[in-house]
């Protein structure tokens, strides 16, 4: 049941959730805005759904 990070490659979605939703937000000289983070989630979704479509296409 248990998996440790060292033993198994972390799912990208787990990583993105934590790296873009967590962590200390400090004002660097460059930081991502909320809009930038939304952009990442949108592009993640777009990628996954296009991969899904591709796979369906191959199966047909």
């Amino acid at each position: 049941m248990s998996t440790t990070i060292a033993e198994q490659e972390v799912a990208l979605v787990d990583l993105v959730d934590r790296l873009l939703g967590g962590g200390v937000v400090i004002a660097g000289d460059i930081t991502l805005s909320v809009a930038d983070v939304d952009l990442v989630h949108i592009s993640l979704r777009a990628l996954i759904s296009s991969v899904g479509k591709l796979e369906e296409g191959v199966l047909e």
Partner: protein, 254 residues
């Protein structure tokens, strides 16, 4: 202007062992783990464009995680959000000066503690069957029988939802007893995570390092207790404590 920018991974206490290929920027008792990145790739405009490039994002995210995990294996670390970038070491030191107090407080609070991720998944069909065992179904074709069936279906749905909430409360409540802090996160999008079943709980728990074993045992016991609903508990960690440092700082970016 230098050709490089400084990517900041996280903050550790002075004297902590450093991960590979890291340039430490120290000020007083705090050290920021940084690495040089090319300006033409990481300045504001190219950075925004790269965010659309999933391969780029994945590479950068895995590098961020790998460095923090290496730091975490040897010391307490305050993880910084992805894409915290500075023009130069002076910029990093100015940040440290500004954020010294909250960062110091975070390091003290996280010392000797671990973040574990917990996802609880249930099987919708088994949940419904457990909540409302198949009994006398209204038979027949008349309007009354139809309405009775509709009513039964609605009650079954409500029963399944109520049972799911009970299971979530039991699991979350039992695991919180082993934790010093806990947060509930939004359930993951199935398209992204590819999980099967219904993700009814996605949470993170901050536990004392010597209590991690007890958390694992409790999770296994809870999974068994709710086996009728097809409960699966997925435990991941220890993570850099991403979910227990938000709201820690005084300044927020625009």
């Amino acid at each position: 202007m230098s050709d490089d920018l400084l990517w900041a991974y996280g903050v550790v206490a002075a004297g902590a062992p450093l991960p590979d290929d890291i340039e430490p920027v120290a000020d007083g008792e705090l050290v920021v783990l940084t690495a040089r990145v090319p300006r033409d790739e990481y300045a504001v405009e190219p950075l925004r464009e790269h965010l659309n490039d999933l391969a780029w994002l994945e590479r950068v995210a895995r590098r961020h995680e790998a460095v923090l995990e290496q730091a975490l294996a040897q010391a307490t670390v305050v993880p910084l959000r992805l894409c915290t970038i500075f023009d130069d070491a002076d910029g990093v030191r100015r940040m440290l000066e500004r954020e010294r107090e909250p960062l110091t407080r975070a390091l003290a609070r996280l010392d000797g503690r671990q973040e574990w991720g917990v996802k609880l998944l249930v099987d919708g069909d088994r949940l419904a069957a457990t909540a409302a065992p198949a009994g006398d179904q209204a038979q027949g074709e008349g309007g009354a029988a139809y309405l009775a069936r509709r009513r039964n279906e609605r009650q079954a749905r409500e029963g399944a939802r109520a049972l799911a909430m009970q299971i979530v409360d039991d699991v979350d409540g039992s695991l919180r007893a082993h934790a010093v802090d806990a947060v509930r996160l939004p359930a993951q999008n199935r398209e992204l995570s590819g999980h099967t079943g219904d993700m009814v709980l996605n949470a993170a728990y901050l536990v004392d390092a010597d209590g991690a074993g007890a958390l694992h045992e409790a999770a296994a016991e809870l999974q068994g207790r709710h086996a009728d609903a097809g409960a699966r508990i997925e435990l991941t960690g220890p993570w850099p404590p991403y979910n227990f440092v938000t709201g820690e700082t005084t300044t927020q970016p625009a």
